[in-house]
Amino acid sequence: MERRGFLKSLFSVLSLTALASFIYPLFKFLSPRAVSARLKKVTIARKDVPAGGAFKVNVNDTPVIVIHHPNKGYIALSRVCTHLGCLVDYDSATGRIICPCHGANFTVEGKVISGPAPRPLKKMPLLLKGDSILIG
């Protein structure tokens, strides 16, 4: 190989290495940070969730809805619609959970009844302790 060709190749390799060594830190810099493994529990009072009603709370940055169903008891579900991320609301008149963005309908247990949602709502762990409800 001639000296000029060698220098061209060397320059290309060094430039690509320099670029790659910049791109990796840039990628890590912009990547979302991992969620903390130590998740906090949130406590609400039972009286805050009347029979047939619902209560909204934030649990570990996730909007959650706690529903008090007369037959099924207390259910905690993520309010994030599995379609495109809008927040759902409980309609006590129909007993359904409805997404205001594209009309997805869910049961009180989070199962999809109709609409574009591809998956049920995520169930949140819930524990009844005396007069309190622990979520998370």
């Binding site: 912009l30 979302p32 969620v35 495109l84 991320g85 997404c99 205001p100």
Partner: protein, 362 residues
């Protein structure tokens, strides 16, 4: 005094000779029309966005606790703040209209055929960059409209199996749209994207300058028999760029400004919904949130096609086709009226886009 300044500059850089050679003695083809000025109008539109955006930067605060309040301050307390902010909003939408018309006209006139493939390629990349400007800028007011439109748009990549969730979280900087999303969108909107756009726009203008205006009477043998640059095509039977065509540039620029100020005066809320005036509430999704009108067609396509992944794949394929079109349509014929199949497909594409935009509103 101006003549002295002019002579001082002219002596040093040959301004008179430059104007004579590039403007007065450059003849544009006889078949160019007002439509050929749309590229210049797009450039003017973007300059207005840049200038008004820089003015807004002096008062805007990119933090979820202060962003909406800073916008309210600009609109209600800063002298003429309402004017610059409204120019920025109306300008963004008018820029998209002019941009779409420019793309349609260039396609219709086959302005992508050789030797102008690079003009089209840089123009297509500019189109994508401007869309990214629209996406990032939409979140900055931190209103209910901004927040929830961004939530929906950034959730669309989750449709892609495997990596979709990661891409969505990467764009947002986390699981949900938060202050992290706001600051990164702000950084992209005011720093990264302007830099990228200036570089690509400079290339785009350079290529246009080197290849000249596109005409249906261009020599189809160019770059075929002789594979070296033979200079910008000369159209001695055409019109001088200055003053004839330059006046058309100025006319269309003023038409654009008139349209902008007409909307600002009589219907400044034309492109905003009621939710643009309510601060973002991450715990309450309003009804009927929709993306801006220029994203309604892809939004409707995803909703209309039952398989969401197929819907997004079709759009990515269309985007790639759009970028590489000059390398697919390489025939010599430039007149689309002599190509009925292409004309038919082109018409169907435009009609489909209009119908999908209409459907996306509901």
């Amino acid at each position: 005094m101006f003549e002295r300044i002019y002579n001082w500059i002219d002596c040093r850089i040959g301004l008179t000779e430059l104007i004579r050679k590039e403007f007065k003695e450059y003849y544009v083809p006889r078949d160019v029309s007002l439509w050929s000025t749309l590229g210049f109008v797009t450039l003017v539109g973007f300059l207005i966005q840049a200038i008004t955006g820089i003015f807004l930067l002096t008062y805007y605060v990119p933090h979820p606790d202060h962003a909406f309040a800073s916008i309210l301050k600009i609109m209600n307390r800063v002298p003429y703040g309402w004017l610059f902010r409204t120019m920025h909003i109306v300008g963004a939408n008018l820029l998209m209209i002019v941009l779409f018309l420019h793309i349609i006209f260039v396609f219709y006139r086959a302005g992508y055929k050789k030797p102008r493939e690079l003009n089209w390629l840089t123009g297509a990349v500019l189109f994508v960059v401007i869309l990214l400007f629209c996406i990032t800028g939409y979140l900055l007011p931190w209103s209910q409209l901004s927040y929830w439109s961004t939530t929906i748009m950034t959730a669309i990549p989750t449709i892609i199996p495997g990596v979709g969730d990661y891409i969505s979280r990467f764009i947002k900087g986390g699981e949900y749209v938060t202050g992290i999303t706001l600051t990164r969108f702000f950084a992209f909107h005011v720093a990264f994207l302007p830099f990228i756009l200036i570089v690509i726009a400079a290339l785009h203008v350079f290529f246009i300058w080197r290849t000249g205006f596109s005409s249906l009477y261009d020599d189809p043998e160019i770059c075929k028999k002789v594979v070296i640059y033979t200079g910008r095509p000369q159209y001695k039977d055409g019109k001088p760029f200055y003053p004839d065509f330059f006046n058309k540039y100025m006319l269309m620029m003023f038409v654009y400004l008139i349209a902008m100020f007409f909307i600002i005066t009589f219907n400044p809320d034309m492109f905003l919904s009621e939710y643009a005036y309510v601060q973002a509430d991450p715990l309450s999704t309003p009804l009927m949130i929709r993306p801006p009108w220029y994203f309604l067609a892809p939004y409707a396509m995803i909703r209309v096609i039952p398989n969401k992944f197929l819907g997004i794949s079709i759009q990515l394929i269309l985007l790639v086709l759009f970028l590489v079109w000059p390398f697919l349509d390489t025939g010599d014929e430039k007149n689309i009226r002599k190509r009925p199949i292409l004309l038919g497909l082109f018409s169907v594409a435009i009609i489909t886009w209009v119908v999908l935009t209409f459907l996306g509103r509901f």
